[in-house]
């Protein structure tokens, strides 16, 4: 019953202070839209770096006559396979036989292979790690090389570079998201503060005619909540429009591999809305304290 009174009061207040309500909704809208956009961009870029990371593999080259003086035996190869099977860091591996390697080389350098007397290339395992960060660990687990293995390579330089760039990009987006989060919280709180500030006389009067702190606070918090709700829902709608209209336009032009995933829209939307509600309601509540001390 009291709750209904507060809801009525909140709506009355929104209508009576339309100008400030619109300002509050607009601030929430902008803050949440920017945050959502940034999260979208960030999740897309991070997904892209993950895709790039997939290129990071460990190559286990077996012996050839040329390198060790003798070809690796099947038994030796199976021993390595067993070792890979048991390593929890390994996601999958692919056996590249001498013939496979030669075919590939033929495709890439027809001039060279045409006149080669025989196949000088080694057989190898291409090992895909569970996580790109584990390439080094996998390579280390095959050190010293088992019998029959000539060398283990994981493109140290490239791997290091890719991992570092990925880390930095991730870091930038984490820091950026935090900055935006803090920024939009401050902005929303600011707007709330201003709109409550312009009504401080009203609050004073309410207190003087016998309203308890909660009786004054509840409608204001509800109002903050409603403005937060309206603003964040509008932001989500705008983001949805951006996703549906702008994204295909951009994506259509890059042939992006399927595993570059779009962000998880419903979760992000939910986070934005809940955040707005909380900032709206508690921002109002906290700001009021100062004016309730009468």
């Amino acid at each position: 019953m009291r709750a209904r009174l507060f809801v009525t009061e909140a709506f009355r207040s929104i209508a009576a202070n339309l100008s400030t309500s619109v300002a509050a909704v607009m601030t929430v809208l902008i803050g949440m839209f920017l945050l959502g956009l940034f999260i979208a961009l960030g999740s897309w870029v991070i997904s892209w770096t993950n895709h790039v990371k997939k290129d990071l593999v460990v190559d286990v080259y077996f012996c050839t006559e040329l390198t060790c003086g003798t070809e690796a035996t099947t038994k030796e190869i199976n021993a390595v396979k067993l070792q890979l099977d048991q390593n929890p860091d390994v996601k999958s591996y692919k056996f590249v036989s001498k013939d496979d390697a030669w075919e590939e080389m033929k495709d890439r350098f027809p001039e060279l292979t045409e006149n080669a007397p025989r196949n000088p290339l080694p057989a190898s395992y291409e090992v895909i790690p569970e996580d790109a960060d584990q390439v080094q660990a996998i390579a280390a687990s095959l050190q010293p090389p088992p019998v029959g293995v000539e060398t283990v390579k994981y493109g140290e330089k490239k791997a290091e570079r890719v991992l570092q760039v990925a880390k930095i990009i991730g870091g930038i987006f984490l820091v950026g998201s935090l900055i935006l989060l803090v920024a939009s919280t401050i902005l929303i709180a600011n707007t709330i503060r201003l709109s409550i500030f312009s009504r401080r006389r009203e609050i004073e009067v309410m207190k003087l005619v016998g309203a308890s702190n909660w009786f004054v606070r509840a409608p204001f918090m509800l109002e903050g909540l409603l403005c937060g709700l309206a603003g964040s829902i509008l932001a989500v709608v705008l983001l949805l429009l951006a996703k549906e209209l702008a994204l295909p336009g951009i994506m259509g032009r890059i042939e992006s591999p399927g595993d570059i995933q779009a962000w998880n829209f419903p979760v992000v939307a939910l986070i934005l809305i809940v955040m707005s509600l909380l900032v709206g309601a508690f921002g109002s509540g906290i700001t009021l304290r100062r004016f309730l001390r009468i």
Partner: protein, 269 residues
């Protein structure tokens, strides 16, 4: 909802309402609680004990003011502009705390009153403010209704009481106007209606007729008198010499924050 020691003033729940509408004769037959002799055992409504109030930059608004107002009394507070009348009102409402001295309202010492109990105090203490203090974005009706809402009255109760009291102060046709659509006197009457509407045991009126023409003023004074007759204590700050001289009620006169006169049946001075 209301504190017992304050509410017990209104012996029957409907007493004040009856007084507002009923003929004076009916009320006159009741025991006059304005006579302190009739209720010697009761604690006084207001006690000021050497109250001093100093505003920030060394302005002494009240200097060791002491007086006792019994339950059911009708008291005029007079004094030149800036003599501390409104300061007394604000101290009673606990809008301000005194710099020194003790204030007791309805048996409770204000300094000891917990923050959470302050709204309760104010609900039992109807106040007509000198500057009206209306909620600017609410209609006259909603302004008056707010005083009932804060004490948890139901919609039905509000719908019954508010139009009645607004009609009583002559604003029956202005219920849906917001304050800036009302004339000065009309705003003042909304403030009066708000202070009366929940029949508080103590009424403090800070210059309630300053913006009203003589006829309307007399009407409001008659209303206050009738309310007082039902047992409500009334404290009224005023500059209306004519009124004070005619009523012959108790007068407390202030001058530069000092109580210079306290007469049982005084004039403006």
């Amino acid at each position: 909802m209301q504190e017992a020691d304050l509410t017990e003033q209104l012996e029957q729940p409907g007493a004040a309402t009856a007084a507002l509408n009923g003929d004076p004769a009916e009320s006159a037959t009741a025991v006059d609680p304005a006579d302190p002799a009739a209720a010697p055992s009761e604690a006084p409504m207001i006690v000021f004990e050497a109250v001093t109030k100093v505003y920030d930059p060394n302005v002494v608004a009240l200097r060791e003011a002491s007086f006792v107002i019994e339950k059911g009394e009708f008291v005029f507070l007079v004094g030149p502009s800036g003599s501390g009348k409104s300061t007394i009102m604000r101290l009673l409402l606990k809008e301000l705390d005194p710099t020194d001295g003790r204030i007791i309202v309805g048996g409770r010492e204000l300094a000891r009153l917990r923050r959470s109990k302050v709204p309760m105090l104010r609900r039992n203490l109807g106040c007509v403010f000198q500057d009206f203090k209306l909620l600017t974005d609410r209609t006259a009706y909603d302004n008056v209704a707010y005083a009932l809402k804060v004490q948890g009255d139901s919609k039905t109760q509000i719908r019954a009481k508010v139009p009645e009291i607004l009609a009583l102060v002559g604003l029956g046709s202005k219920m849906t106007n917001v304050p800036h659509e009302l004339s000065g006197g009309e705003q003042q009457r909304v403030s009066i209606a708000r202070a009366f509407v929940n029949h508080p045991p103590l009424l403090i009126c800070d210059e309630p007729t300053g913006n009203l023409d003589p006829d309307t003023s007399v009407g409001i004074m008659q209303l206050l008198y009738r309310i007082n007759r039902t047992g409500t204590t009334v404290v009224m700050a005023t500059h209306d010499r004519e009124m004070v001289d005619k009523m012959r009620k108790r007068v407390i006169a202030l001058e530069e924050g000092v109580v210079v006169r306290d007469e049982r049946r005084g004039g403006y001075g």
